[in-house]
């Protein structure tokens, strides 16, 4: 069988752009972290925390996250289907439309055009752009899979297909709104219903944007990097179906103790706890695939990124269900514990897996070996230390904050005023900001390494032979 002409050009373009948006994400993240330490760093009206924070999350989830998924999915799908991309032209159009959307998103968010719904702040004209983008992408991926020359669809393809429908359903339902003017609209739902729909979206964006795509990538790149297959196919099947079944019940765990009906809260809590099983199904599948191969953690830098990544996924999926227990939620919800949790997911799990995948792709994209494995290791340690410092400082801060919020005197009055609890947070906010700088340094090393690869990397004839 002749080798199909895979399109790696589009993969490269998406990677480069997603890295640019990744850098923007971390830069803005560091800036807003410092703004919390010193409010003088806010420059109203455009550069205040309130406007920059949605920019930070949107650039991270949609620019860096989705941008990388576009790149990696196009790579994975072509190879798993043994067929070239269905329409490279459509993919090119998608690339430019993607960048136009992200730029428009950044500008409108800074101008204050936002719907206030977390992780879905974009106003309605931008929502429409996102929908177009997703349809183009879905058509290209699905058609490529339909035209495949490999009968069986590998695990990664299941996750990719689930991502496509999941994101579509979530985005359309939560985005329903009534326009007032070009950049102002009101949600189609009111009050308690709006909150319930929003967190059904909010938490399941974590499922369908920040879990299933990195899992698709993990399941593809772990065996490719180690050279040994995934431990159990059957375990992947069970984990896949139970994961996408259970996740959609859990959104209301963000709304414990609110006016949302009790039975919805209880179901959300129960399913969140049960979700440990399918999540850890993938974690174990990853770990067990390493049987007899653990020495690669020392020798193969890609494995380090991937295994630490799945480890953070495992920690996340223990911490998440814990947080969804009503009594624990009463304590830590609204505190700094939560950003600590979220960032272990985004900076640890999602980003570590993406870094590994991008290093793996490099020889295919540029026809060159990675410029420096030493620098890749430095990058690994910087982002690991940065992320751990960030998360741990925020966990401690959150526990202290909650403890102070709930502290009461023997006569039943509150021990601390709100501002007294804030004052105690400043040292932790400084620690977090500096850990953000360390993480940023790691991202810059990553950029430099890839730039030098493109410029000066040693050429490779057969990328498949180069794993480290």
């Amino acid at each position: 069988m002749e080798k199909p002409a895979y399109d790696y050009g589009i993969v490269r373009s998406f990677v480069v752009w997603s890295m640019v948006w990744g850098l923007v994400t971390v830069l803005v993240g560091v800036l807003i972290a410092f703004q919390l330490c010193d409010p003088a760093l806010n420059l109203p009206p455009f550069l205040t925390y309130g406007r920059l924070r949605p920019l930070h999350t949107n650039a991270g989830i949609f620019g860096w996250g989705i941008g990388s998924f576009f790149a990696l999915f196009y790579f994975i799908v072509q190879r798993l289907c043994k067929t070239p991309l269905w329409s490279p032209k459509l993919a090119r159009f998608q690339l430019w439309f993607f960048n136009a959307t992200i730029i428009a998103a950044a500008v409108t968010l800074l101008l204050g055009y936002n719907t206030s719904k977390e992780y879905h702040e974009l106003e309605w004209p931008l929502d429409i752009m996102v929908v177009i983008l997703w349809v183009i992408f879905a058509v290209n991926i699905i058609m490529t899979i339909v035209k495949r020359r490999e009968e069986q669809m590998y695990i990664s393809l299941w996750y990719i297909l689930a991502t496509i429908v999941g994101v579509a359903v979530l985005y359309l339902v939560n985005g329903a709104e009534v326009p007032v003017s070009l950049f102002k609209s009101y949600s189609a739902y009111a009050g308690t219903n709006d909150a319930n729909v929003q967190w059904w979206f909010g938490h399941n964006a974590v499922a369908m944007v920040l879990t299933t795509p990195p899992l698709a990538i993990f399941y593809y790149f772990l065996p490719k990097s180690t050279g040994v297959p995934i431990y159990s196919h059957r375990m992947s099947i069970i984990a896949f179906w139970s994961l996408i079944f259970m996740y959609l019940w859990t959104g209301a765990h963000h709304l414990l103790w609110t006016p949302v009906p009790d039975w919805v809260q209880t179901l959300a809590m129960a399913f969140s706890v049960m979700l440990i099983a399918p999540s850890w199904g993938s974690v174990f599948n990853g770990y067990l695939s390493m049987q007899g191969e653990w020495h690669q953690m020392k020798q193969n830098y890609l494995v380090k990124f991937l295994i630490l990544g799945i480890t953070f996924y495992g920690l996340q999926t223990l911490q998440g269900p814990l947080q969804s227990i009503r009594s624990f939620s009463a304590f830590i919800h609204y505190t700094d514990w939560v950003p600590g949790h979220v960032h272990m997911g985004t900076m640890g799990w999602v980003s570590l897996v993406l870094f590994a995948a991008i290093y793996y792709l490099t020889p295919y994209m540029f026809g060159r070996k990675v410029y420096s494995i030493g620098l890749a290791n430095l990058h690994f340690w910087l982002v690991l230390v940065g992320q751990l410092g960030y998360s741990v400082s925020m966990w401690i801060a959150g526990v202290q904050q909650a403890g102070m919020w709930h502290a009461m005197n023997p006569d039943g009055s509150l021990t601390y005023t709100f501002i007294e609890t804030l004052v105690e947070m400043y040292p932790y906010y400084w620690v977090r900001a500096f850990c953000g700088v360390i993480y940023l340094a790691g991202v810059l090393v990553f950029f430099y390494n890839l730039y030098m690869t493109a410029r000066k990397g040693e050429p490779v004839d057969n990328p498949a032979l180069q794993t480290n």
């Binding site: 899979i145 949600s187 950003p339 006569d411």
Partner: protein, 286 residues
């Protein structure tokens, strides 16, 4: 079998994700925001309040402030009566938030006089020196657009009069956001209900105690100085001199329950010991 058929996989995946979706997201529509939820005293926003709410959304205030008081002891003490579903029926979108870098605002309405909010929005540090809230002084320069606001009222189906729309001309966004903040949480008369009836005789446990005066002074700087001035010379609130003649128990009552109509918040959350210390300090003549 499904591993070989992408379209079948897509259909099965869609069905799978719809089960939880229908049960926890679609079904609640039958029970929530229905007639049974309504609270008669909860009213839609006026044009000025709505304009203020949109400023709140634009500035992303919900990134730092939540708007739901949970039925937990400390929260009810700190913020007021816990939130009820019927209070949010006019909120599109909801603004419950997910993070409290600043305090919850669900019941901020009526807690402080307007003047407090204007000063605080223009320069938060002038009211709360250690805050990390940015200043929003620029809202004084931006004007509310009456015609756009009219369109918003129509889209939301809120009642309004021509006078209300006419009154918007010349109003600043600062006026609007203060009006909105003053509306928050006032849909139910919880403040009146929460006023604690003090039973038994009120006897100052610190009468003539010098340390209590010092402790009271510290409390004054923290809780009272922003409104009544550093030297009790008055600012937003009145000057506090000549209180020596006031009965201890009377002063305690005022501090404990506030003056709801005069814009003075209740300080019952301080507990009786600290309130007595304040009484002692306030009665001390300079």
């Amino acid at each position: 079998m499904w591993e070989k058929k992408p379209v079948l996989l897509l259909v099965l995946a869609t069905v799978t994700i719809l089960v939880g979706t229908i049960i926890t997201m679609v079904l609640p529509f039958a029970w929530v925001n229905t007639k049974a939820d309504r609270i008669a005293s909860v009213t839609p926003y006026t044009p000025l309040e709505l304009a203020g709410r949109d400023v709140y959304i634009r500035e992303g205030c919900n990134n730092c402030h939540s708007q739901t008081v949970r039925p937990l002891v400390a929260e009810v003490l700190r913020y007021g009566d816990y939130s009820k579903s019927g209070e949010f029926v006019y909120d599109r979108p909801h603004l419950w938030g997910s993070r409290r870098m600043g305090p919850d605002l669900a019941r901020i309405g009526g807690k402080y006089p307007d003047a407090w909010h204007y000063k605080h929005m223009r320069d938060p540090k002038s009211m709360v020196p250690q805050t990390n809230m940015p200043a929003y002084a620029f809202l004084d320069r931006e004007r509310v657009d009456p015609e756009l606001t009219r369109r918003k009222m129509e889209v939301l189906g809120f009642p309004y009069t021509e006078e209300q729309i006419a009154a918007l001309s010349g109003k600043t966004e600062m006026d609007a956001i203060v009006a909105y903040l003053q509306k928050l949480g006032t849909g139910i008369p919880w403040r009146e209900a929460a006023g604690s009836e003090i039973v038994g005789e009120l006897k100052n446990p610190f009468a003539g105690n010098r340390t209590a005066v010092e402790a009271g002074e510290e409390l004054y700087e923290k809780h009272c100085a922003a409104c009544h001035g550093k030297e009790r010379e008055g600012d937003i609130g009145p000057e506090l001199s000549g209180l020596g003649d006031l009965d201890d128990a009377e002063l305690f009552r005022i501090l404990y329950n506030g003056i709801p109509d005069g814009g003075m918040p209740a300080f019952s959350k301080l507990g009786s010991e600290k309130t007595w210390q304040l009484v002692n300090y306030l009665k001390e003549e300079d």
